[in-house]
Amino acid sequence: MKRFVVWLCVALLVVALAGCGQQAAPAEEEEPAETLEPIKIGVQGPISGQWAYEGEGFVDAVSLLAEQLNAAGGLLGREIVVIPGDDKGDPKESALVAQKMVAEGVTAVIGSYSSSCTEPASAIYDEAGIVHITPSSTATRLTEKGYPRFFRTCFLDDRQALFVSEFLRNELKFSKLALLHDNTTYAKGLADWTKLYFEERGGEVVFFDAITPGEKDFTPTLTSVKATNPEAIYFSGYFPEGGLLAKQAKDLGIDAVFMGGDACNNPEFVQIAGLEAAEGAMISTAPLPHDLEYPEAAKFIQDFKDKYKEDPTSVYTVMAADAFRIIAEAITKTESIDPEKIAAYLRNDLKDFPGITGPINYDEKGDRLGSIHLFYRIDANGQFVAYE
């Protein structure tokens, strides 16, 4: 027992010393730029575990842009340092990462991935007076708490759902829809809204249920879907399962149109489904970079490919890049790294900023304005073609 007590004392001391060391470093650096200390930008997301590729996408995108800025002399003559933090998609880890970011003295944080992780972190960043932008958490409630320095670069769930429902009812004249989601906050929200709007417009949702993300075989579920004879299957979850669903629906001889939400907007969707099953599938999403007139978009995608030898994994990688770009813009325009000034600039003065994902404007709550969704149809070569 005694030895244990000694151990515990030593352990406490070590932790306390480690804590002191870290506390001393960042100190108060809200002073003007003359100190030339680097500007620290935190990137928080799941960089291990099931959603690791999404968190890694955040870090890759932001690091790429930060490198380019640094090569061009940095921001306000100061270097930008990107600090990644892994929250594993767990709200508890997210709170710890947030405290860690605060202790590191970051100016702004980009993240986290899922709404349930962004939520606890946003409270901590709000208290610490840090700018917080989520690239991917679409839950409406996040902006309803009135945090003055919280923003998002993604669109809210319900805007896409409204677009999808109207398109299905008015353009395609579908009346029987099967809805599948994967029980993530994002996909569930999109599916719930779509159900609501589709039924409001006189359509019938003949099937509504969740699949388990990470699984491989959805034939039992699809067999049930087949029995309800829908005209279309809309899956609001992510491309790995989306591709499998499209392929297995084909295997089961289902002839309903397969449709996916913007999380299915990924070239790997076609790879997984296979050309045969992917052809004719439709994806609702914000315009793809090659359909945007902004040179920024094409350049970012090209730079990303050059550096990482791969396309950005998901739209959220691009959303994270946009989050970084508006922070950089605000810092340049306000010539300050004061979070208050950055936030005020984003809220009031940012007008039609040419984002990689389209023009960026904010309402008073910090939600991104507008909806620019459209449907893409996958052609026989596996290309995404805008649907007229």
Binding site: Q50, G214, K216, D217, P220, D251
Partner: protein
């Protein structure tokens, strides 16, 4: 009726993968009383290695005969995973063999985290996709039930591997030694059985079977990721217990039953509740048959 038959076919396809993975759990449990929580990761590793051989090395293009190429991929991947299995046993389990069972369980969990992240760091965080069209896509409709060639192959390979293993364990000398060790290490040693080398052999066979399941998952579903070992591992462990852990036919039956139970749960109740339904069935089975379907009956001590 079509619906029912289709769900049975769906369930058998899913279940045959569980059954193959469950065999590894059950064999290792049988001789060491160890729940090898790293087994799911070995399954996943098999899938990734085969991906490398097919997509990166391009074995399918190098070897002209498709059938031969696939066989080579299977042998290479299963061999490498078997080797990994032995290495894990040597490093992480053998030193703990006399320390009781629970330390080895924690060690196995550590190996599991280690391997999952090792694969993530080597192959990257993204989903990997097997190239399209390795196995020709053929499908038939029989009595309104859709059957694809790949499903028949999975069922065929799984069932033949299971029977081979069963006869190996029941009919050969080495198999007899495995069964002897499962009963009593010390007596087996007295009978002149080299216990350590038999344990090594089991740590080749179990992971290699798991790897074969991994390769089939890759070939059929084509999309693989580094976290899939955990999901399949838990199901396969469930299947092994359901059939009666330590019992080889039990693992087969448990796996197939679990697959069918999932398919029925998803088909007749709700996809999001299917795992809860499968677990409820499992708990009910265990309440009435406390050692699983084919588990040995243990005399109630009390």
């Amino acid at each position: 009726m079509e619906f029912l038959l289709q769900q049975v076919i769906n369930g058998l396809t899913i279940g045959s993968v569980y059954a193959l993975v469950a065999l590894g759990y059950t064999m290792i449990y049988g001789i060491l009383r160890l729940i090898n929580f790293a087994h799911g990761e070995l399954f996943m590793l098999g899938s990734y290695l085969a991906f490398s051989f097919i997509a990166s090395v391009g074995l399918v293009n190098v070897i002209p005969n498709l059938f031969l190429a696939i066989v080579v991929v299977f042998i290479l991947s299963m061999g490498l995973v078997g080797f990994t299995g032995v290495a894990i046993e040597r490093i992480a389990y053998k030193p703990l063999r006399h320390a009781g069972r629970l330390p080895a369980v924690v060690s196995a969990l550590g190996v599991s985290i280690f391997m999952q992240n090792a694969v993530m760091l080597t192959y990257g965080t993204r989903y990997k996709v097997y190239p399209e069209g390795i196995i020709p896509t053929m499908a038939w409709e029989i009595l309104g039930v859709e059957i694809t060639l790949m499903r028949l192959i999975i069922l065929g390979i799984a069932i033949s591997l299971m029977f081979t293993l069963y006869f190996f364990v029941q009919k050969t000398m080495v198999g007899t030694a495995i069964r002897a060790i499962a009963l009593d290490h010390d007596t087996s040693r007295l009978m002149g059985i080299n216990v350590d080398s038999i344990i090594r052999l089991v740590f080749v066979i179990g992971p290699a079977l798991g790897a074969s399941a991994g390769i089939m998952v890759g070939l059929y579903y084509r999309q693989i990721n580094f976290t899939m070992g955990w999901a399949y591992g838990l199901r396969a462990f469930t299947a092994a217990i359901l059939g009666g852990i330590g019992n080889i036919p039990g693992a087969m039956i448990g796996g197939l039953l679990l697959g069918v139970a999932e398919a029925f749960g998803a088909g007749y109740v709700s996809p999001q509740w299917k795992d809860a339904i499968a677990f409820t069935i499992l708990i009910l089975v265990l309440i009435f048959r406390p050692t699983g379907l084919l588990g040995e009956r243990v005399a109630e001590k009390v």
